[in-house]
Structures are given as C-alpha cells and as structure tokens.
C-alpha cells in the first residue's frame, strides 16, 4: 500500500460520529425553529457599530490626552479608513461567509502569516505531483512554524487559584431559564436534552469538550473569562468563576464541583 492509499484509508476511517451528527442537527433545527439563525447578521452589524463607536471614542480621547490635535484633523478616525478596518476585524471574528461577501468583509485582513510573502518558486503549470512522498529532489528549510498556531501552557500554575475562586456552582432544574447579571447569557434547560450551543448568543465564544463522558460547554463571559456548564441526568450544572476557568484544568474544576455537589447533597 503506497502513501496515498494509506492516507486515504486512514482518512476514510475518520467520520463524524452519529452522536455528533444528531447534536449538530438538533442545534441547527433549534436555531431554525426559533429563528435565531436569521438574527446573526443583525447582531453582527450592531457589534460593528459598537466597535466603531467605541474605537472612535477611544481614538478621540487618546488624541486629546496626548495633545495631538492633528490626528483628528488629518489622520486616524476622520477619513473612515480606521473605522473600516475595525469593522472588518469585528466581522471576521465570528463570521465566515463565502464568495464575494466574505472577501469584502475580510478586506484588509491578513489571515496567513505567509500570505504577504508570495511564494515565487513556482512549479511548472502542468507539474504532476505524483505520490505523496515521491522524491522531490530539493532541500527546504526545516522547522517551519506558524505563529498563529502557538499554544502556550502558561496557565497551568493557576489550578489552585481556579479551584479557590469558584464563586458559584449551580444545579439548574429542567426547563429552568438562567440569565446572568448583564442579561446577556441565557441558558434554557430541557429535561433529557443536551443544551445547544446556539442557545448562547454568538457574542459568547463557545465550544464543547468531552470530559468523563460529559459534554462540557464553556463560554466566555462579558469580562472575557471562561466559564463552564454541562448536563447530566436532565440537570444542567454551571460553574462560574470571577477569574475564569482555564481550559487545561477544566477536568480538575469539574471533579471538584462534582465532589462539592455530592457533599452538599445536591447530587
């Protein structure tokens, strides 16, 4: 079996699980039925306005503070350029439409660290790339790395701080609706049904991880700190912390929460 065939065979074995398919479909159906999928564009536009307005105010304040009035006269914030860049930044954070619309929104964005350096060692137009590992006959530099993929591990020392700073572990009853203090985060719990990511506003970044067979969803609160919740036996459990929960230590935090709930007889 050559490298191509090996790769294809391995890839064919990678498939979306039935559970994931069901979850995705359920989330999308929820989003479709309650119409939230149509609201995303409106939300995005509002976010852009906010960013532009905030950016404009910050720029104006900075210019006044440092006493450089010409900035307002000829430069930043008056010709619209900076506002457009900020809008593009904001739009690309949570949206990725295709084709023309995407290109417009992404104007000025440089996703790829190597994008600005066009690779010029062009291969012949009709080159046959052959097998995946066929001899190429050319040396290339080693150790290529991309800054966008660097993952730091500087949060590991914060474990104890995370555990100590948990401010709330809530057991939410089925069909209970929970809102945070700002009214931004709404959690609908339905008995026997996993919570959908799209029940959280898009302004909160979310992802789901599987820990101890629990689908734990975490989100970032208004202050940018990571919080977490999961469902079990028809109940939803939520962990919030003033200082956020580090992703690497979620397992420990949830184990701690489990123990606490059992101690308090809530589980």
């Amino acid at each position: 079996m050559n490298a191509n065939e090996q790769y294809n065979k391995s890839m064919n074995d990678i498939q979306l699980s039935d559970e994931a398919r069901k979850r995705i479909l359920a989330n999308l159906t929820n989003s479709f039925n309650d119409g939230t999928y149509q609201e995303e564009t409106k939300t995005k536009k509002n976010n852009i306005k906010t960013v532009v307005a905030t950016g404009g105010m910050v720029a104006a304040a900075a210019a006044i503070i440092v006493g450089v009035p010409f900035l307002l006269k000829d430069g930043f914030g008056t010709d619209g350029t900076s506002e457009m860049e900020m809008a593009a930044d904001s739009a690309s954070e949570d949206a990725a439409p295709a084709d023309e619309a995407y290109e417009e929104e992404s104007a000025g964005m440089d996703y790829d660290s190597e994008a600005s350096v066009e690779e010029t060692d062009e291969a012949a137009a009709d080159e046959d790339y052959g097998e995946l590992t066929e001899e190429a006959g050319e040396e290339v530099e080693e150790g290529v790395a991309e800054s966008t993929e660097e993952i730091t591990d500087d949060e590991t020392s914060e474990t104890s701080k995370n555990l100590d700073s948990i401010t709330a572990i809530e057991q939410l009853h089925a069909d209970y609706i929970y809102e945070d203090t700002d009214g931004e985060f709404v959690l609908k719990c339905k008995k026997g049904k996993a919570l959908g990511v799209y029940e959280i506003p898009k302004s909160c970044s979310c992802f789901v991880v599987s820990l101890n067979h629990k689908a734990v969803t975490t989100y970032f609160d208004a202050s940018g700190y990571r919080q977490a919740y999961w469902t079990e036996n028809g109940y939803a459990y939520s962990i919030t912390s003033k200082e956020g929960i580090t992703k690497g230590k979620l397992y420990d935090v949830i184990a701690q929460a489990d123990k606490l709930l059992k101690t308090e007889g809530k589980k």
Binding site: M1, A3, N4, Q6, Y7, N8, K9, S10, M11, D13, L16, A20, I24, L25, L28, T29, S31, F32, Y37, Q38, S92, E93, D94, A95, A96, A98, D99, Y102, Y111, D112, E114, E118, T120, D121, A123, Y129, L132, T133, E134, E135, A136, V140, G143, V144, A145, E146, E150, I151, V197, Y198, F207, V209, S210, L211, G224, T246, K247, G248, L250, Y251
Partner: protein, 170 residues
C-alpha cells in the same frame, strides 16, 4: 440548480449527510481537534442555512462549503479566545491521537498532521479530495502558483518526516 432559501432545513440535512464528513475531515486537518472540527461543521451548515444564493450542482455546493469551513477555521485560529486556550491534549481527542489508534496507515496520517497547517490543508484537498491546484487556490484564496509551491514543499517535508523521523510540529 439547488436553492437553499426554498427549504433551508432540508438542504442542511442533505448537506450534513452528503458532505458532513468532508467538512469534518478538512476541519480536523486544519485544527487538529475533534471538538473544534465538529463546531466548524455546525457553523458551516449554519452559514448554508443563511445563504440566499443557489448552487449549480452538488459539487459547486461542496466547494462552497469547504471554502466556508476553511474561512471559519482561519477565523478560529485567529480569534483571541482560541489563542487564550491552553492545550487540552491530556484530555481530549486530537488528530494525532486518532492517528495512533489506526492499525495501518497511521504513520502517514500522523506525518501529515504534523505538517504546518498551510501544507497539510493543501495536501489534504489535493490528495484526498482530489481537487486540482486551481480549485484549491479558489477554496484557500491563494494564487495557483502558491498552491503548487505549497504542495511541492509539503510533499518534501512529508518525505523527510517519514524517512528520517523529523518532527515538523507547528
């Protein structure tokens, strides 16, 4: 002609059945994390639900979906929230751990997974999805010549990795 707005949910269901695995594999190659890849599948289909245009055929639709998935993966890598994340390698499924679980052919998948993202995505689209360099250039929003260079360099890195055990982790 496929028009999404006529019945968005039906089209999304069909797209998930037809192309769900393709989007998932591409996203997994990009992000190397199963949970993130599943999120990308969901977000990609959400974009399809919102799409007001139409597709000439299923191939056109698939190319569109893969392009959206690539954009979403780029956005995810670029997002501040993603960069803040600490690795969950101890606890969650990664592409490498998946590769290790295969009995045969795992070394090639593992080697591809260790290539820098710009190479592994192009290699996946070319060798697995069977797209031409021109088609990949449209999906990846890179020039055709760049795609061909990436293919060639990626293949060389892969060869080195498989022969000499070099580690090109990014």
């Amino acid at each position: 002609m496929i028009e999404i707005s006529s019945n968005p949910m039906k089209e999304v269901e069909e797209a998930l059945a037809l192309f769900g695995n393709d989007i998932y594999r591409l996203s997994l190659m990009y992000l190397k994390n199963t949970q993130d890849a599943e999120d990308i599948v969901q977000d990609t289909l959400l974009k399809l639900m919102q799409y007001n245009g139409f597709f000439n055929n299923r191939e056109h639709e698939k190319a569109w979906l893969l392009k959206v998935a690539v954009n979403l993966c780029k956005d995810k890598l670029k997002s501040a929230a993603y960069k803040r994340n600490v690795s969950l390698y101890d606890y969650q499924d990664t592409l490498e751990s998946k590769a290790e679980s295969f009995e045969e052919g795992n070394e090639v998948l593992e080697a591809v997974a260790k290539l820098p993202v710009k190479y592994r995505t192009v290699i996946h689209l070319y060798y697995y999805e069977g797209y031409s360099s021109v088609e990949i250039s449209e999906i990846m929003k890179k020039s055709d010549s760049t795609v061909r260079s990436l293919l060639r360099r990626g293949r060389m890195l892969l060869q080195k990795s498989l022969k000499g055990g070099e580690d090109y982790e990014c």
